[in-house]
């Protein structure tokens, strides 16, 4: 597109990419290292991937993480969407400013504080810490992200669509499920994805709110790293990177394709 890429542009591009991706690239390369020592290259091998799948502790941790992430992001999506609806729809209700401030506070709150306060709460009410406390904590801190994403969609939502449905005899509750929800679904889904990934890689809040028997993957990796990095961890991280990359590529191709199709159909309609 741009024919005169100056040496300056090329260098800054290369430096930027290097800064972002060299650490990740190193990690992936060393996950195929035959040596036990992380920093010494001793030939290509799949052995760490094999041993990874035999490491029950890591597999368990991954399973816990996925369950926590799934349940918490599902609940956070429902609650966050409801919060976003309340904030965009009900104009100026009593305590609106307070409510919106409180919804977004966890967004900027240091994780340590969120984690500590949740821990204190769970201790105070005598809630046994473990799987469910992590899940509750993750709902709390991912809810606001969902609310932000969904609210930004609702702001541009054409209210007359809902009014048209009401006008045609559809009661409000049904209108929400037949008109509003299908139209804001992309935003709700991306809110869900965001909540899911946030929950997946959270270490701090999970460490505060966990109890015996519930260890998430980031916690397991962190505790193992303290004893020394093993190539197994490299392999685990490489798999995570692979999964995330594939997901992102698929998502972006899908959106691009949908956009292209839509644009061409609109052009066709404009021609008559």
């Amino acid at each position: 597109m741009n024919k005169n890429l100056s040496w300056f542009n090329v260098t800054s591009l290369a430096l930027g990419f290097a800064f972002l991706y060299i650490p990740i690239l190193l990690l992936v390369i060393y996950s195929f290292n035959a040596s036990r020592l992380v920093t010494v290259w001793a030939g290509f091998s799949f052995q760490w991937y094999v041993s990874l799948f035999q490491n029950e502790q890591l597999i368990d941790a991954a399973w816990v993480t996925l369950r926590v992430a799934f349940i918490s992001s599902l609940v956070a999506t429902v609650l966050g969407t409801m919060a976003a609806l309340a904030l965009t729809r009900y104009g100026r209700f009593f305590g609106r400013t307070l409510f919106s401030g409180m919804t977004y506070a966890p967004l900027v709150m240091p994780e340590v504080i969120t984690g500590l306060s949740l821990l204190l709460l769970f201790v105070a009410v005598g809630f046994e810490r473990g799987f469910w406390t992590i899940t509750l904590a993750h709902i709390t801190f991912t809810l606001c992200f969902v609310a932000v994403v969904v609210q930004s969609r609702l702001v541009t939502f054409d209210r007359s669509l809902e009014e048209a449905a009401l006008d045609l005899g559809c009661p409000p509750f049904k209108t929400f499920f037949t008109i509003t929800l299908p139209l804001i679904l992309p935003a709700v889904l991306s809110g869900f994805m965001l909540a899911f990934t946030l929950s997946l890689d959270d270490l701090v809040i999970a460490s505060f709110t966990t109890g015996p028997g519930a260890t998430t993957l980031p916690m397991r990796i962190y505790s193992q790293v303290r004893l020394g990095v093993t190539p197994e961890i490299n392999a685990a991280c490489s798999i995570l990177i692979g999964v995330v990359t594939v997901a992102v590529i698929i998502a972006s191709i899908a959106t691009k394709r949908a956009e292209k199709l839509r644009a061409s159909e609109e052009r066709a309609a404009a021609r008559g």
């Binding site: 449905a165 006008d167 045609l168």
Partner: protein, 379 residues
């Protein structure tokens, strides 16, 4: 061609004879009874009372922000009046939610459901009424035929042109056979030519279906074209309710005269007023002005004379009878529009610049080098 003409004539005849508002025994279908709507400090609708009759094509006309859309939304059920009542077929609509009112609205933005096909959009209303499936399909087909979109049933709204979307919106709001169809600036998004065609389509449709239409518009030509009666609103207040010809020929206030069509306004003094003959004097012309209008006025009152441009005649030579109803002035500019020309004429006292339309009765290719002294006259 001949049948087309005959049909237009019948419609014209029906329209002329249709005037339930002159019949004191007729009961209105819709009644706005002293309706007030306030948003905080702002009064959007101020003590408005209107009666609308069955099968009437009624237009609410006014500039943006005059309260006409608010009035319509109170009928649809999206706003509740602060004071007063809205009645439909004698029933007070207070507290009846929009989804239980037998009134449908066609939105300015069309508000087509983007995730549904044209057929699904049209079927939406009948589905809510709990109509059986087979009947819904029949109704959809009938509506598609009505708006000539049979081939587009499976398209999504974004695959349609603006005019097609407008017709889908119309079909969707008619599909449940509402008692009243509300049209909120229905043609605002169309280009001029399509808009004019659609106006006549709307009139035909309203006649054929025998339904009551209430249209909100800021376009005075549109209101004049389609409506049986027009309500002119300004700043939340109802200014005049009358058929288009009355609004044009006998505007109730200066505001209406100025808002509908082009007009020249002259300040005058009332000299005498008797038997429907009003004699006026104005500083712009030495000749007296005589008009035949049944207005109440006392000698010495200040009056505003509104003259429609097309009712004036311009001539280069002084007219034979200079004793009344004539002005002398200089032609400043001529705008040629094909079917008519606009003349900007300055009257001798300097300030008032008058404007006259004249539809090509000047001999041939007469051109004026402006400014040149000429004598426009009117009668």
């Amino acid at each position: 061609m001949a049948t087309e003409k005959a049909r237009t004539q019948t419609i014209g005849a029906v329209r002329r004879s249709f005037a339930p508002w002159t019949d004191p025994a007729a009961t209105p279908l819709i009644r706005f009874d002293n309706v007030v709507k306030r948003f905080g400090e702002f009064t959007a609708v101020d003590h408005v009372s209107i009666d609308i009759y069955e099968r009437e094509f009624f237009a609410l006309l006014g500039p943006s922000g005059c309260g006409k859309t608010t009035l319509m939304r109170m009928l649809a059920g999206f706003e509740e009046p602060t004071e007063g009542r809205v009645l439909l077929a004698g029933q007070d609509l207070a507290g009846v939610p929009p989804y239980r009112r037998p009134v449908n609205m066609m939105f300015q933005s069309y508000a087509l459901f983007p995730h549904m096909s044209v057929a699904e959009n049209i079927a939406f209303g009948p589905k809510q009424l709990g109509m059986p499936k087979g009947e819904i399909a029949g109704r959809v087909a009938e509506m598609l035929k009505l708006v000539k979109l049979e081939k587009f049933a499976q398209r999504k709204p974004h695959q349609l042109s603006g005019g097609q979307r407008q017709r889908v919106a119309l079909a969707r709001s008619l599909a449940t056979r509402p008692k009243v169809l509300l049209l909120d600036e229905p043609l605002g998004a169309l280009d001029k030519k399509l808009r004019e065609e659609t106006q006549f389509e709307l009139m035909d449709l309203q006649m054929d279906l025998g339904m009551t239409f209430l249209i909100v518009t800021h376009d005075q030509e549109e209101a004049m074209t389609v409506a049986d009666r027009i309500a002119v609103m300004n700043n939340g207040v109802l200014v005049q309710v009358a058929p288009p010809s009355t609004i044009y020929e006998a505007p109730a206030t200066r505001y209406v005269a100025d808002f509908i069509g082009d007009v020249n306004m002259l300040e005058c003094k009332v000299e005498s007023c008797a038997n429907g003959d009003v004699h006026l004097a104005s500083s712009v012309t030495p000749a007296p002005i005589e008009i035949a209008q049944s207005v109440e006025a006392n000698p010495g009152d200040t009056a505003w004379l509104a003259i429609r441009p097309e009712k004036m005649r311009i001539s280069l030579d002084a007219p034979a009878d200079m004793t009344r109803n004539c002005f002398t002035g200089e032609i400043w500019d001529i705008g040629y529009l094909g079917d008519l020309s606009i003349y900007h004429v300055e009257l001798p006292c300097g300030t008032p610049i008058s404007r006259a339309w004249w539809s090509g009765r000047f001999p041939g290719k007469t051109r004026f080098s402006s400014p040149s002294r000429r004598a426009p006259a009117w009668s």
